[in-house]
């Protein structure tokens, strides 16, 4: 959201859009809805078009971006409301209210204070996070833009003007650079090309000053805001004095999207047509929904179990109470008469209050502070990600960024990884590797670059082509492209070398690579001036060519051509394109020698292009020229006509050579993908790229192995026209049969057993996908989606190409909603990935070159794709283990906290007498036992981080929420129950003789509770100490500190007659307890017995591990040597020559 046309890349001001809009936007529809009907009319300037048409100020979305949840005023009520919507908080609120209203055994403070503490801490955390959002919003909203008012530029804050350049801008006029073309780097890249050329309407290109713009009277009619980035339909009506209004049509090429960055111009004039939350980009954000992690779902399930335990406990106690009380001397012995009020209450009401009282007494079994501890853990724990030095990138001088702390543990549960390709898997920068001319290979090494610019001995020969052919080839490279020159001082050195005075800009990084490649060999493209292309050749001479026609690239033809006229008048057609599209159009005898090179290059993972040329006679050219112009003018079937002309033109050419360009993979992306695979994740690549490019990348990064059998559902296989639905149906059925029906069912086996059997890869493109997801008519095709999904889930790897951003999100949503709702992760770097980042459970942004949209909307942002490995395998795993342990521990410690209290009811006549003092009840969860588990859940590394990163298999151990399944939950519950029983009955037997002091004095009920509580606090804390594998000084500090604090507090609490307390029940109880040797012995014994199973388990585990190690020692040696193989394999093992090389 941040990138402004003014602010981001173009130094100097971009003249902002024009102001008010007259829009037929109905207020209610200002954001969110996808389907919009009707059009809106935008008046350029708020000048009425004519006298009769009075200007009516329109209600219209303002340009403020609001992502924050609260304001200063509504924070308290709204936040409280939000917090009490949580079941646990609401439950405690109810308990608190019950305590206030009903006569309950414990004072309201015991549950009110922890609740207050929890609410406060959460509110502070949420307030802080919202403050960060406010800051980010302000950064956007307060940024300066220029608007034209009364023929002057006025600088204003973005949010204060109704319509600003921050909205989407339709180009009115450009500061002219290069024939009225404007290359725009869409903020974050609309798709892979990253840079797109946008045009102004011809009638307005002359308006280059503020005055001229101000004089313009026009209206723009356009459709209501809708999220499709690639579609824009509208028209501009320009009124000129004394002339008929002129109407011009507007298309997507006239629309600048929000966040776009200007590349080759300093400023543009524009009109804002959509603003604020109505911009296409904003509509594509889909609104940030609250992401809830799977752990939280487990917590809720456990909560329900404990709630059931609680309810049954209360019911049991209430029932037994009345059974017990049926005996009158139990109900009301002479020494303990009821109050008048008590006698007068109805029995049913009394039973009900008794039930509530028991609920209150046992309510601590629901761990009140768990949520706040979980939140603290997430909040503080997320710092470890941003502090991770290994995820720090030297290039951008930044480390990882954590936008939400709610999903840390989700990183350890990922099953599906959806990744963008360009900029994520690859560097998004191409490099010229080699070329072959007439079958002779020319490969330069960096050191030889200088040699090339010398006239005589340019090349390292593997055989030499004729000089003239070399030059022709290089000229072809220099001429056959749509690259533009940008003076270096106008842009930062995004692509160009810093020593150059200029930079090349193109919508295709391949072309830049080629032009630069040619430059290395001595032919430098100097730019285009008035349709003349200038080249400096090897002899440092200028050559100029008149550019006559550009036969633009399109994905069907997969080639492009230029027609130029040399200074001598020769007409030349240069064509470059994929080998599959070039070879049929050249002389067959020329192919063979080049083909060898092309195939080998493709095998090496390079993107190959073939270059061909032909000479045109004037006559031929005239014909072509005429045909082209005719086709361009055509209003109907323009595309087809053009295609036909192109087809005719690009025939009978002569092959000169081929080039090989490398789209460099990001470092270690292949290793990362392999690691993700090994960790049991399925990786899907979703890209806006063409299939061929994407496919070769997938091979390069080992998403597809050589053994992977590819299934294709693309425009190519499905075909065109009406029959495609049938064809699709056939294909789907065929694949379905192949994958699901024919595969012997081994359901009982490993869930991720696909790693063992034949691997399948699926390739699907956007149009086919929309065919599947939105079947056009009949219901018979509606189960396509299901079949498709089944196929997808069976495939090791899936490649989706030509995806629109929303389609990416659709795919993610589809997988997300399948059975078992697997955890999905999306990673991308551009604005087009935002929707899928938001859709997935975990969204990861790459802090790439394409702006910050992705990382701003992501949950986590990392500098490079390779960091995903550590993020998931190490951090995710650890966070998951930590939080799972935290959750289980919380339930456990509260169970053994409350169980003695429950058991005590059997010995106190079910009178709801609390076993522990109110202070202990209150402090147990918030003071005595909270910090050790917090420290544990922040710092624990049960397995060393390096081991985790190195061994992806370990990730599988925690997959499927393994540590929060019912089995471990039962283990913990039994442990808690066992310990609770030990605590209570241990002290119970001790108290058979309550004179435990050496002077014969007797202990009372509060001492009983205090002994139980002391054993409890020590046991649960020491249990945590036993679980801790990674001791830091902090662990030591909080564990021993908590125990010391408990002792200190108990002394303190019992050492003073507190004036505010009704009863001084704890007065010197703790101190007296400690004077008794028996008590000491009992406490030590009970702690030991409680921990005994745990200690035994540890010992047994150690023994088992040791014997394992002995056994594995010999076996291990082999895999060890295997894993020591060089980590970088040759990039690519196999590709298809005809698929790897299109622009």
């Amino acid at each position: 959201m941040r990138l402004l046309i003014t602010a981001a890349r173009a130094p100097g001001p971009a003249r902002g859009g024009k102001r008010r809009q007259r829009a037929s936007c109905q207020l209610g529809k200002c954001a969110g809805e996808e389907k919009r009907v009707g059009t809106r009319t935008v008046v350029v300037g708020h000048r009425p078009v004519s006298e009769t048409d009075a200007y009516v100020a329109q209600k219209f979305c303002d340009n403020r971006i609001v992502s924050s949840k609260y304001t200063l005023w509504n924070f308290l009520p709204k936040n409280l409301f939000e917090q009490f919507r949580r079941i646990a908080n609401f439950y405690f609120l109810i308990i608190f209210l019950v305590q206030v209203i009903v006569d309950t055994p414990t004072s309201p403070v015991t549950s009110g204070l922890p609740l207050f503490f929890v609410i406060t801490v959460t509110a502070i955390k949420q307030g802080y996070e919202d403050w960060l959002r406010h800051r980010a919003d302000n950064e956007v909203n307060k940024s300066n833009v220029f608007i034209v008012e009364n023929a002057k530029q006025v600088q204003k804050e973005s949010e204060k003007i109704k319509v600003t350049v921050n909205g989407e801008v339709r180009l009115l006029s450009l500061k002219l650079v290069g024939r009225g073309r404007c290359v725009v780097r869409a903020g974050g890249g609309m798709s892979c090309p990253g840079e797109l050329t946008h045009y102004a309407v011809r009638d307005t290109t002359v308006l280059c000053t503020d005055e001229a713009i101000d004089a313009l009277t026009a209206t723009i009619e356009c459709e209501q805001p809708q999220p499709d980035l690639y579609k824009f339909v509208g028209r501009i009506i320009i009124y000129r004095s004394n002339q008929e209004p002129v109407a011009r049509s507007l298309g997507p090429e006239n629309l600048l999207l929000k966040g776009a960055t200007l590349k080759n111009t300093k400023k543009i004039y524009g009109v804002a047509v959509y603003t604020g939350m109505e911009t296409k980009m904003a509509l594509n954000y889909q609104g940030k929904s609250q992401k809830r992690s799977a752990v939280e779902k487990s917590i809720n399930a456990f909560l329900i179990v404990y709630l059931c335990i609680l309810l049954s406990k209360a019911t049991v106690c209430t029932t037994l109470k009345y059974v017990w009380q049926s005996n009158p001397f139990n109900d009301e012995p002479w020494y303990n008469e009821k109050t008048k009020k008590e006698r007068e209450t109805f029995k049913v009401l009394r039973m009900f209050t008794d039930f509530l009282s028991f609920m209150v007494l046992f309510n601590f079994i629901i761990p009140v502070s768990m949520y706040v501890t979980v939140e603290m853990q997430k909040f503080l724990g997320s710092f470890f990600i941003s502090w991770d030095k290994e995820m720090y990138d030297e290039e951008i001088k930044e480390g990882a960024l954590v936008n939400t702390s709610d999903l840390n543990e989700e990183l350890g549960q990922v099953e599906y990884v959806f990744t963008d390709k360009t900029g994520t898997l690859t560097e998004n920068s191409m490099e010229f590797i080699e070329c072959c001319i007439d079958g002779h290979k020319y490969k330069d090494c960096i050191s030889e670059v200088d040699g090339f610019s010398q006239t005589d001995g340019p090349l390292k020969y593997y055989g030499k082509a004729e000089k003239s052919r070399e030059e022709l080839f290089l000229r072809a490279l220099c001429l056959c492209h749509t690259v533009q020159i940008k003076e270096a001082d106008q842009v930062d050195g995004l692509i160009g070398h810093p020593e150059h005075r200029y930079t090349y800009i193109s919508s295709s990084p391949d072309e830049i690579a080629l032009v630069k490649g040619a430059e290395k060999y001595g032919f430098t493209f100097l730019g285009l001036e008035n349709n003349f292309m200038k080249i400096r050749n090897q002899k440092n001479e200028m050559e100029t060519y008149q550019l006559l026609h550009v036969l633009n690239f399109d994905p069907v033809r997969r080639r492009m051509s230029v027609i130029v006229r040399t200074t001598t008048g020769t007409l030349l057609l240069f064509c470059k394109g994929a080998d599959s599209s070039i070879f049929p159009r050249v002389q067959q005898e020329e192919i063979q020698q080049t083909k060898v090179h092309v195939d080998r290059n493709a095998m090496d993972g390079y993107r190959t292009l073939c270059v061909a040329f032909k000479e045109l006679t004037q006559k031929e050219y005239d014909k072509i020229d005429r045909q082209l112009n005719e086709a361009k003018m055509a209003l109907q079937d323009r595309e087809e006509k053009m295609a036909k002309v192109f087809e005719d033109t690009e025939a009978d050419m002569h092959l000169i050579g081929a080039t090989a360009v490398e789209d460099r993979l990001q470092e270690q992306s292949a290793e990362t993908i392999e690691a993700l695979h090994a960790a049991g994740m399925k990786v899907w690549v979703l890209t806006g790229d063409k299939m061929e490019t994407a496919k070769s990348t997938c091979y390069a990064c080992r998403l597809f192995q050589t053994s992977t059998e590819l299934l294709e559902l693309t425009a190519k296989t499905v075909g065109e026209s009406e029959r495609k639905e049938d064809r699709l149906h056939e294909l789907l059925m065929e694949y379905h049969k192949k994958l699901i029906q024919d595969v012997p069912k081994n359901r009982g086996g490993l869930k991720r057993s696909w790693t063992l059997s034949q691997e399948y890869g699926l390739i699907i493109d956007g149009s086919t996908l929309s065919l599947i997801l939105n079947p056009s008519q009949d219901s018979s095709s509606s189960n396509y989606k299901n079949i498709f999904l089944q196929i997808c889930l069976k495939c090791t790897a899936v490649l989706c190409c030509r995806m629109a951003p929303l389609q990416k999100a659709q795919i993610v949503r589809m997988v997300k909603n399948t059975k078992g709702s697997p955890i999905t992760l999306s990673i991308g770097d551009g604005a087009n990935d935002v929707s899928m980042i938001l859709e997935a459970h975990v969204g990861i942004g790459i802090k790439g070159k394409e702006g910050r949209q992705a990382s701003r909307n992501s949950d986590y942002a990392v500098p490079k794709f390779k960091h995903l490995r550590k993020l998931l395998l190490a951090h995710g795993h650890l966070y998951y283990v930590r939080i799972a342990h935290l959750v289980q521990y919380f339930f456990y410690k509260n169970l053994c906290f409350i169980l003695p209290q429950f058991l005590y009811q059997f010995f106190c006549g079910f009178s709801q007498q609390p076993l522990y003092d109110a202070a202990y009840l209150t402090m147990y969860n918030i003071c005595f036992t909270s910090l050790p588990i917090l420290a544990y859940s922040l710092l624990e590394q049960h397995i060393n981080i390096d081991t985790l990163t190195a061994d992806p298999q370990l990730y599988m151990k925690v997959s499927d929420n393994a540590m929060l399944q019912w089995k471990p939950f039962l283990y913990w519950t039994f442990l808690g129950a066992f310990e609770g029983l030990v605590f209570f009955f241990g002290v119970y037997f001790l108290f058979q003789n309550s004179s435990l002091e050496d002077n014969g004095k007797v202990f009372g009920n509060w001492t009983f509770g205090t002994i139980v509580f002391t054993v409890l606090v020590f046991t649960v804390t020491l249990k945590l100490a036993l679980d801790t594998r990674f001791w830091t000084w902090m662990n030591h500090f909080v564990i021993w500190g908590s125990l010391a604090f408990y002792v200190f507090f108990s002394f303190f609490w019992g050492g003073v007659i507190w004036p505010f307390l009704k009863q001084q029940r704890m007065y010197f109880v703790f101190a007296h307890m400690l004077t008794s040797v028996s008590t000491w012995l009992a406490i030590i014994l009970l702690i030991f017995i409680s921990l005994f199973p745990e200690i035994l388990l540890i010992v047994l585990k150690n023994i088992k591990e040791k014997s394992h190690q002995v056994r594995n020692k010999i076996i291990r040696k082999v895999p060890d040597s295997l894993s020591a193989r060089p980590s970088v394999r040759p990039l690519l093992l196999r590709t298809f020559s005809d698929e790897s090389n299109v622009l």
């Binding site: 008469e337 058979q992 009372g1004």
Partner: protein, 326 residues
Amino acid sequence: MGFWSWGVVTLQNECPGNTLAYSSISFFYSPTVNDCPFFPLQIDYTGTEPSSPCNKCLNVSWDSSPPCTCTINFTLEHSFESNVFMYYGLSNFYQNHRRYVKSRDDSQLNGDNASLLNPSKECEPYRTNEDKPIAPCGAIANSMFNDTLELYRIDNDTRTPITLIKKGIAWWTDKNVKFRNPTGDGNLTALFQGTTKPVNWPKPVYMLDSEPDNNGFINEDFIVWMRTAALPTFRKLYRLIERKNNLQPTLQAGKYSLDIAYNYPVHSFDGRKRMILSTISWMGGKNPFLGIAYITVGSICFFLGVVLLIIHHKYGNRNTSADIPN
């Protein structure tokens, strides 16, 4: 018996060598004559059995005067060598019932004059009597144990009273800090002016004892009673019997008689009363639980240790143990 105590075998009276049956019936057996030297002597004087001398007092009420008295003779097989502690024990008495536990006013007991005349609402229904505030208020105070136990040694038909010391039975902090008489001028009677005695008491609180430092709220019997017991079967320290000199044991083996002024009715709620004589070691009162538990746990540990040691020797490989973490 308590609602629950049938399920729990009381180990308290168990004597090594005796049958388990002995221990389980020991509560019902009366009078009990203890014949093991290191275990306390318990005498149940509830008087439920018709043969018991106290049977006549079974249905005694609070305000019977003169009090019903009874005498129980018993024989001490072994002498008590060191200081002897005399307890009274009650069974099925729910001193830990919530309504009971909270029925007290600690600030009144701490000598706060305002609370003295306006006791806390927690004391209901033992807060006021005939519009006068009760001091000490509440159910606990109201139900204070008021049997009088006296011990005589019978030596050739002569009854020698044994000196029972009534001070030093309460926690020092309770006696000196937590429980305070109201402050002001005049004697205790004047200080408690305007209050009335608890309903069940025969005399007001300022007449509990003749000694001023053991009278009123700081009466040690009262303080001991006010520390509510943890379980429905409990004992409370009643008197101390100090060893006179090094030549004689505190209580020689022989015949004794226990004189009881039977005031405290327990029959209505099926309770029982005991008198317990016990010596105390450095570990406190006799408590078989700890010994048994320690021996059991120790044996288990030893056994497991041996097993694991064998396993370790059989499978353990010392060379590999150190180098692989986790």
